[in-house]
Symmetry: D2
Subunit: 338 residues, 4 copies
Amino acid sequence: MKTIKIGIIGAGRIGRVHAENIAKFVPEMEIKTVSDPYMSGETLEFLQRLRIPGLVKDADVILSDPEIKAVVVCSPTDLHAEYAIKAAQAGKDVFVEKPVDYRIERVREVIDEVKKAGVKLQVGFNRRFDHNHRAVYEAVREGKVGRVNLIKISSRDPAPPSIDYVRVSGGIFYDMMVHDFDMARFLAGSEVTEVFAYGGVLVDPAIGEAGDVDTAVVSLKFENGAMGVIDNSRRAVYGYDQRVEVFGSEGAVMDGNDTPSNAVFYGVEGTVSDTCYKIMWDRYTGAFAAEQKAFASAVINGTEPPVTGEDGLYPILIAAAAAKSLREGRPVRIAEIE
Amino acid sequence: MKTIKIGIIGAGRIGRVHAENIAKFVPEMEIKTVSDPYMSGETLEFLQRLRIPGLVKDADVILSDPEIKAVVVCSPTDLHAEYAIKAAQAGKDVFVEKPVDYRIERVREVIDEVKKAGVKLQVGFNRRFDHNHRAVYEAVREGKVGRVNLIKISSRDPAPPSIDYVRVSGGIFYDMMVHDFDMARFLAGSEVTEVFAYGGVLVDPAIGEAGDVDTAVVSLKFENGAMGVIDNSRRAVYGYDQRVEVFGSEGAVMDGNDTPSNAVFYGVEGTVSDTCYKIMWDRYTGAFAAEQKAFASAVINGTEPPVTGEDGLYPILIAAAAAKSLREGRPVRIAEIE
Amino acid sequence: MKTIKIGIIGAGRIGRVHAENIAKFVPEMEIKTVSDPYMSGETLEFLQRLRIPGLVKDADVILSDPEIKAVVVCSPTDLHAEYAIKAAQAGKDVFVEKPVDYRIERVREVIDEVKKAGVKLQVGFNRRFDHNHRAVYEAVREGKVGRVNLIKISSRDPAPPSIDYVRVSGGIFYDMMVHDFDMARFLAGSEVTEVFAYGGVLVDPAIGEAGDVDTAVVSLKFENGAMGVIDNSRRAVYGYDQRVEVFGSEGAVMDGNDTPSNAVFYGVEGTVSDTCYKIMWDRYTGAFAAEQKAFASAVINGTEPPVTGEDGLYPILIAAAAAKSLREGRPVRIAEIE
Amino acid sequence: MKTIKIGIIGAGRIGRVHAENIAKFVPEMEIKTVSDPYMSGETLEFLQRLRIPGLVKDADVILSDPEIKAVVVCSPTDLHAEYAIKAAQAGKDVFVEKPVDYRIERVREVIDEVKKAGVKLQVGFNRRFDHNHRAVYEAVREGKVGRVNLIKISSRDPAPPSIDYVRVSGGIFYDMMVHDFDMARFLAGSEVTEVFAYGGVLVDPAIGEAGDVDTAVVSLKFENGAMGVIDNSRRAVYGYDQRVEVFGSEGAVMDGNDTPSNAVFYGVEGTVSDTCYKIMWDRYTGAFAAEQKAFASAVINGTEPPVTGEDGLYPILIAAAAAKSLREGRPVRIAEIE
């Protein structure tokens, strides 16, 4: 088995998740160095247990290490583009967490620099690698549903983030629904051309005061004539609710939520089964590993990564259009953005 | 058990369905007379087998019969209002098939004449009586989902109607989605205030040539802040697909399709269960009986029918707004209609 | 449509169920007379509402009526055989409720008399006509599971019958599991050759004092080498639990319980759906109608009824073997019975 | 986190599975040495990738290493007892794969030696740690089903083992159903007192020629009065089918099979979902990790392991009784064994 050495920039939650998944499930990638200016003792211990030899503060240690072939960028969002560009310029293949950046021109810059440097770029839309969504995708690609007519996506978080986070998140379309915009493109196999957004503050007034909505329904039109709809809520008391449905000329395919077990209890009061997982990391645990395996494969075999820079850009454009639609109370074409 | 005598105007498909359901399942209503100017031999035989004594051409036989307390109007749509008004003026309680009329002023006339006559009026939105949708409704009314935030309705026909029918149907919003507009109000317990419609011709170009769309996604805003979305398709190859979902602050409740059996086959190629029913009459068979039982109860006990004249009017207003939204490419407030 | 006149002997619970189902769903059979020596006012009113013209005390009115072509025997169990034989001798086709009789020689007599008289005999094993079990059966007959290897049947009542009834019921194997013995033969397409029974008193000690068990597990061997198992309980708090499974060389097919609705609630505490029906009449309502339609078809078209006298006999033989097995603590061959 | 050093004896399939699971998911156990007299190059590479420092031929390297606190015995079955005893005598805690041995006296010896040495012993009944079975178990232990009345277990392999293996396997009761005997005790919370076995050769005549059966139905009686049934087949074409059900005075709880995804396709021909996993390692992957975590916890915290030596012995006694029952055609009490 051919293996490569990699570095991870950022050891926050998502950085640690990638480190753990790569260490356990991606033997073809050897994590040589993880950098983070603020590593807690707990984080250090966690990474040491994964037997990662280099734990440093300065990302330059990674960027300047000729042994390191690829970099996984897990920094705060506003530094994604900077590190991605630096890694590309250093000749390293880049995996960058989503969103690449909230600023469209910054995303374009990353794409341009990557192209110039001739390196690979993969964007962290991990849900594409979820076993359920992937099975839906494959059924669609195999032509089982025929021509795609409708796409429906429900995506609801178990609880809203902190108000501090809401303030800097860019809003629900950039921060939360961006995943669903990606999923919609992924499943439709066609570009979104127009959106119309309804949104409201139904979960927590503080979210409204912070300038965002917490519940939204966005209709989509695709280039191939298909239509779609995405609904988001910042709080589903029953857990992390993630379902997709594709309806076409030859049938429909849909998935549901995973649960901790499939045991069912039949009692006087009803038939009771498990609720879905309460947290993202449990639901998408396999997806994080699978996206890194895919990145490793692209890097090692010199193939195109399955989630490209353009795949990172389009959902941001759609998010911008959705935000504009909500502000202006009218459908907005993606072509209007920029 | 108190019983009343009723008459049925119209012995087309829906008239025969009501006749059969009343004869079998609503012993408190005795069908004295069915009128239809064009009854085939087969229809006559069918109604005789139900032991209905009066089979006549002229609706006036019913309208002028003092023994008949209530009339079920199953005429062609454009005569619904006329017969409903005549029945009301004759002092009879009225059940009228949906839509009351495509013309809003005509619906209002019916409502006014019914009020003037002091009789009962029930409109044939049968899906409210479906066992699955009813269970969703009851969970919502009992407060199980808390405050309603989102409503999702999928409604797909197994095959499009004839192009001749499409031409006179008033279009998908009046003819098909009108049921879902009713369901949306019913489940939300709040009025729709605005809609935005996407539509396209994805099933059959002939439908487009007839001036209609065959696939549509309509977003809804409700007075209480909730949002919703309805999707319709004129053709789902796997059957008559009817599902609703209500999401709120305390949970979600959703239903699925009924199937001929729940047998499941585990084979090499997959786990296979029945597809949903292929035709409306099979899926909603219990609902037709239940709505007539409810009508009988309102008539006999002098209570308010569960689907009023206003319930007949609002979905038409929403349909008009949806049609306008699709034409003008913008959200349309219900208040704009009229 | 060809129709025949029939009579029903016995207007207890099952007699009324058959009367209602035939009146509503079997237009090819016209109920001319129902006899019962003890008809309450309520029963009379119920049967009058079904527009049955002859309501009499004496079964001879039916047996001697040359217009009546077929008789449905719903008398107390110990009179089943007597009426069935009399009806046969009167040249009438016979439908007799299960069990034909607990005494094997009596069942044989019925079979012999029917043969002598050249009339049709159908036994009331209604579950064969249930939509779910029927779908399993058809999958097996179509060869979907290949060679049948295993049969599993769970059959649990929502509550035990009265102790008075238990005392005269013949015991759980004759009264309750007899249905499952029939189902086992029906699904396997092969005769049971041997059984082994475990039984216990786990539901109510009074059942034990009455000389019966309330919980039983019976293993079966079939002539074709397949094996099976049936479990019965007199009390499942969650309802009337009826499931079958057939496993073979090419797959497995199984069914589940029907529920009043398929609505599902997702809440903090779990995902909750309906419990199964609580009473037999709700679960098997369609089955009762279907078995009478099948009887009507056999009578009118002169074909073999789908549940023959032998089908009525074999489950009794198996019940006898199971009871013997439980008493003697050893496997008992069906050939040992008699 | 406290950690211990362990050794693994045997690097066949199950040895490698334990090595991988411990390396990935049980950071509290550090694998110092793996011994196997016949390690292929592939196995060596596999274990090196897990960064296991000591890869040796001779188990004595492990047994004599004072740093090694606990030993995981994955040798061929006939050496389980020998290594378990040697490890105990060397003062090491022992995890031994199931079955401890087919010979009852050998199992007793292991139990005795372990007791004498004062070390811990855990037996590898991994299914107890499966997330679905565990959820059923917990529902039962929490009292949700009330008093346990019935236990049903289906356990079917996707394909029979080689005939060579069948010849030395001890037979279906020792090799395959032993897992289900353990599961039955585990779920019932009561000892099996008697069994009755039916068995046949329905899958492959060669299995019969090798002296074994390939399909079996075994009824069980428990000390607390409950009854149970287990069915086994050596070949289910649709996969590795593993389901349990516990029925009691207050309800029932049952589980089903896991599938690669929960995507469902609705097409003209039916509604199709995934078949269950085809191989044990996929279904029980989490269970293998969980049992080692439990062993680590018992070793480190000095608590009783969750699957004791007695838990290893009883299923063998039940298997012996089942084999005797099949041979002699009569129910066999466990007390008869020995």
